[in-house]
Amino acid sequence: MDPMTFSIIRHRLFRIIDEAVITLKHVSGSAITNEGHDLMVSLYGADGSLLMGGVGFLHHLTSAAEACKAIIRRFEGRIREGDVFLLNDPYTAALHTSDIYLVAPIHFDGKLVAWSACFVHVYDIGAMNPGGFSPQSTDIYTEGFSSPGIKIVDQGEMVQDVVDTMLNMVRSPEMVMLDLRSMIACNNVARERTQALIAKYGPETVEAAGAELIRQSQDLFRARLQELPDGSWQSRQYLDVEGETATVRLTMTKKGDRLIFDFSGSSPQSRHAINCTRWAALGGLFAPLFPLLCYDITWNEGVIRLVEMIAPDGTIVNCTRPAPVSVATVGAIQSVNNAACATIGKMLAASDKYRGQATAVWHANHFAIFKFGRNQKGSQSIGILTETFAGAGGARSFGDGVEIGGEVPNPISRMANVETVESVFPIRYLFRKRKQDSGGPGRWRGGTGGELAIVPHKAPDGGLHYVISGKGARHPMSDGLAGGYPGAPNSYRWARKDQPRNGDDDARLPGGAEPVSWGVFPLMGEDALYVRWNGGGGFGDPLEREAERVERDVTEHLVSSEAARDVYGVVLSNDGALDAVATEALRREMKRERIGREAAR
């Protein structure tokens, strides 16, 4: 194929997704979509294979491919131009019920030529807890509306009885309908622009370009794998929920042009909704793989062909029905993200050519906190604290992680402005800021996470309630790399005005605080909810960090003077100035103490 034509079509396909994402955001009325960017749009071939992966949460790229294939199987012979299908069953393809896929066939001259697929986390899905994350659910049956495939638009006409049936099962149906309309609009734009592209270049040319695109990705990824060292790398992730700890274990083996992710040894599926299904685990490992290994390769089926996953049945990474999965995206899926990020980081760091691409684990622990209740305008509101998308960058082999710098699995994640949240919820922020010492120490420091506190404000009912799926307060999850420390773990605390303080309580909060992590809690009166989210992992030995950088970190309140001394071996005077002589002596002494210990065996 003429390389210029190929490049134009490739670029145009990507821009079609770009425009569809913009459409999705503009039509949606949910902060989780248009502020947090908890979304995804991609294009798929006529057989449902991933053709051009888009942005947003990348664990959906492969799962939505499976959704397209499931629709093809279920509706064979009944797929017509202008149809739109809904699928959100996690045991068929979706990640959890509240992440709804709308997939739409793209026809040209009456022939099915491609699919567009998108998702948003809908306002509500009718699970036992509002907002979709349902920590109190003990099985899939209490996690809301769930469909393995249903047609909601038939040749351009809304199938109203079907849509109404679904809306009848959810809270705030008008907002869920807006979510559905945003996805229909998104798919309409993707379809129209793809048809225009085919009309301009011809169906044979565009089909040939698609095939070439997949072949090119496969060839480029194969070449990259062959440049990387053969070997195996391990990581593990602990998830604590209600006093129980589950473990995701991963051995990643790279041999020649093959990459195998083996999750054998991971914990049995949990009674808590942190489990994920097989398709979700597969998506979870590709979410970091695409940006870390294929940053210059089109994300499509050509990459997927070179990767194998082993995930034993009945485990936390491949649970069996009816295990609950509503918290999967911030539970086992994110741990799969983190474990894959860690092993890929180690593999890259073991390559002289690719060490510059290696990274410690970024923001590894989402918290899903959904506020709900009557707001200052008298209407019911449900919405996530979008700070969970703010993230923290992992340290790289050449530099610090970015403070509150996002996350690997979603290249466009972000948080809403404080004012945006305060305008639609009856709350006020006491503070929202970078959290000192949260970035994993290292030669290169992990980016800091953040902290916030909110209180009720102008609430007609005296406050509101929130659903929290806050695992991960006991274990740090943002692993360091090459001797770097992990980022500090999350913390969730309910500060009560009428509770006496003890010595450890935060003076910025209205009273004594107790931990909260899992379930539904009130935020009433003059109480406050405090949340701290994790920093990124560090890279390299903290004693190797340039002392001047530590001095600057302390000046900017990113690192405490205590951590500077105890972890980095940097001595500062009372006015914060670096004492180079004392620092050199302290570091020499700290290294001497290390050597004096016994070997591990």
Binding site: A563, V567, R594, E598, A600
Partner: protein, 97 residues
């Protein structure tokens, strides 16, 4: 010229002293401390302590959660870290040479 190969940012492999095998060495000081077919972490210096003792930011972590630091026996450089529960096996990373 010495045949030094990368294992990680902190480790390299070098020809074994007796020939016929290769050894793991600290990248910083190039001192070998075990053969490449061994579990190198078993031959490094291990510092294992509760994560809560690492600093105030980790004060809320579980008391049973450990931070393992593996040091070069010769120069004391940190070779790797891992978070573990008591009794957990070492994470094993290997290069196939």
């Amino acid at each position: 010229m010495k045949d030094i190969r990368t294992w990680s940012p902190t480790l390299v492999s070098v020809p074994g002293a007796g020939g016929g095998y290769r050894s793991i060495a600290c990248r910083a000081c190039e001192t070998p401390f075990c053969r490449t077919d061994a579990v190198w972490k078993e031959h490094a210096v291990l510092d294992e302590k509760p994560l809560t003792q690492t600093g105030a930011a980790f004060a809320g972590a579980g008391r049973e959660v450990l931070l393992r630091r593996f040091f070069c026996p010769s120069c004391g450089t940190t070779l790797d870290t891992e978070v573990a529960l008591p009794g957990e096996s070492f994470l094993i990373d290997r290069i196939v040479e």
